[in-house]
Amino acid sequence: MSLTRAQVEGIARLARLQITEEQLPVYVDRLSRIIDFVEQLSAAKTDDVEPMAHPLAGQVQRLRADEVRETDQHEKYQRNAASVAAGLYLVPKVIE
């Protein structure tokens, strides 16, 4: 196993994913296999190779004028939210 149980618990915490107690050993096994598999990249000679930043050479980020183009549709967009009041998204209390 290239990853320990504690490491996988740490990754799950970083990724904000609940993994159940019974599922955890399965994740340790599968993720270890994936990391072992991608480990073979370390053998590739990459001295002086620039990491790829974009699949097409010479692309630059386009910019546009900072002007209002969209109309306010928050009611439509908020229809997909779990909890909304007065145009605001509701979440559990953050500050006691």
């Binding site: 904000r16 790829m52 939210a81 559990p92």
Partner: protein, 488 residues
């Protein structure tokens, strides 16, 4: 009526041999009778389809129809459709009604197509068998015990079973070409940036591209033309003119330089599939193409490279699913952290969670250089291999997949076994190249005939040439016309 191609439907509608409402009703009837057994659709939009069809008939009657007016199509459920459920194959979005149309959806709609429904897919497009869908696996019309491939498996099954003449798909590591190969379709992944991804739910943003699953290169050309082009809403979409793909189909094979990819004929390749691909290459050679072998020495590293880059980008893209603005939220969260962790833990399936965690790991402090940066360097080497090959040949060629369709459940216990199924398709995504899978024959498994695919990969923006070669091949073969038994 259901065996007609897009081109034949357009001609039939123009000549008033049938109406769009008639063919739409016919296909909706087939979806109702045959669709459930395949599990090809997540949502059938019958009312919307008939409304689209009536509008198309009115336009045709006024003489205002275009080449796709009134042609029924289906969209992979990764594309946002205004007012229609858009699930991405996930519990996370099982009640998400998109508030706008993806550009691909809007373009096909403004071209006059009729939306039959949204097709099933691997969850968030992560899978090669359609078994990771929250809505259950899709079955292959050629053998219901086998997978249709993935992640665009619902689109593939629907088009192969003659429930729709064509459908959209997306391809991050082979998700259009691999299902096309496994279901006897023509599947095109365009150049990175050729088609807008606005409204296409993101998986791995340096790899994702939208494309087409159709029953011929000719149909794929028609549909790509109506899909491609600049869109200011997608910052990665390239601002270059869209050629007349359909008009370019007639280019002869004489003088074409084909490179046979040595690394694709490896020990993992089913020798029967290898023989079919060799025969197809022979047929192209007989028509005047010159054939030589090319080697892409770094290509065997494409799968491990992909499984660093794609999970890294997915862990970032899928952080937006936090249970706040859209998507699943758990019951009675104790606090904010509990809400994030349980909403995401419940909303995502195992494969998605594995990839998010792999990505989180390879991007985390202390591992970034060893994994992510290293993978982006190897990716540069792979892209360089392709660039060198295209200095000598016009296209490279090989199989699309190592084997024909495998059985449901055959590869679900080991992620690596599943990942290796995309060994021939991933290279094109890493290098941002266009590629097409074309039917090239059948292998027998028991009492079933299973299709195999020939893959052509071209230089950036070489779609027209790829489709032209595929079309010439389809003029001299009839593999692409074969229909799965029971769906004729």
């Amino acid at each position: 009526m259901h065996t007609l191609t897009v081109g034949e439907i357009a001609a039939g509608l123009a000549a008033r041999r049938f109406s769009s409402v008639e063919i739409t009703r016919h296909l909706l009837g087939r979806i109702e009778r045959l669709g459930a057994g395949l599990n090809a659709f997540v949502t059938v939009t019958a009312e919307r389809a008939l409304q689209d069809a009536r509008e198309a008939d009115a336009r045709l009657a006024r003489g205002e129809g275009g080449p796709l007016t009134g042609v029924p199509i289906a969209h992979k459920d990764i594309f946002c459709t205004d007012g229609i459920l858009t699930t991405c194959g996930s519990r996370m979005l099982d009640t998400f009604v998109a508030p706008y149309d993806a550009t691909v959806v809007a373009r096909w709609r403004s071209a006059g197509t009729v939306l039959l429904g949204k097709t099933n897919m691997d969850e968030f497009a992560m899978g090669s068998s359609n078994e990771t869908s929250f809505f259950g696996p899709v079955r292959n019309p050629w053998d219901p015990a086998r997978v249709p491939g993935g992640s665009s498996g619902g689109s593939a099954a629907a088009v192969a079973a003659r429930l729709a003449p064509a459908a959209s798909g997306t391809d991050t590591g082979g998700s259009i070409r691999q299902p096309a190969a496994l279901t006897n379709l023509t599947g095109l992944k365009p150049t990175y940036g050729r088609v807008s991804r606005y409204g296409m739910i993101a998986f791995a943003s340096s790899l994702d591209q939208a494309g087409v699953l159709a029953r011929s290169a000719e149909d794929a050309a028609r549909l790509l033309g109506a899909m491609a082009g600049f869109d200011p809403r997608d910052s990665t979409c390239v601002d270059s003119p869209v050629p007349d793909y359909h008009g370019a189909l007639a280019v002869p094979l004489e003088g074409l330089r084909i490179g046979v990819l040595r690394e694709f004929f490896d020990k993992g390749l089913d020798p029967r599939v290898g023989r079919l691909v060799r025969a197809a290459i022979g047929a192209l050679e007989e028509r005047g193409a010159s054939v030589r072998e090319v080697s892409l020495p770094h290509l065997p590293l494409s799968v491990p490279t992909y499984y660093v880059v794609a999970p890294a980008e997915c862990s970032s893209n899928l952080s937006r699913f936090d249970g706040v603005r859209f998507g699943h939220r758990c019951e009675k969260p104790r606090d904010l952290l509990d809400m994030y962790e349980r909403s995401r833990g419940e909303g995502f399936g195992d494969e998605v969670k594995r990839r998010i965690m792999t990505g989180t790991y390879v991007l985390s402090a202390g591992y970034y250089d060893a994994y992510y940066l290293k993978a982006q360097k190897v990716r540069q080497l792979i892209a360089g291999d392709f660039a060198r090959a295209f200095a000598e040949v016009d296209v490279v060629i090989g199989p699309t997949t190592p084997t024909a369709a495998f059985e449901l459940g055959a590869k679900t216990s080991d992620p690596i076994t599943m990942y290796l199924n995309d060994i021939y398709t991933i290279g094109a995504n890493l290098a941002g190249l266009p590629a097409v899978s074309v039917p090239c024959g059948f292998v027998r498994e028991g009492d079933r005939e299973l299709p195999a695919g020939l893959q052509l990969i071209g230089p950036h923006f070489g779609e027209a040439r790829l489709l032209g070669i595929a079309h010439q091949y389809q003029l001299m073969t009839d593999w692409h016309r074969r229909m799965p038994p029971g769906y004729e």
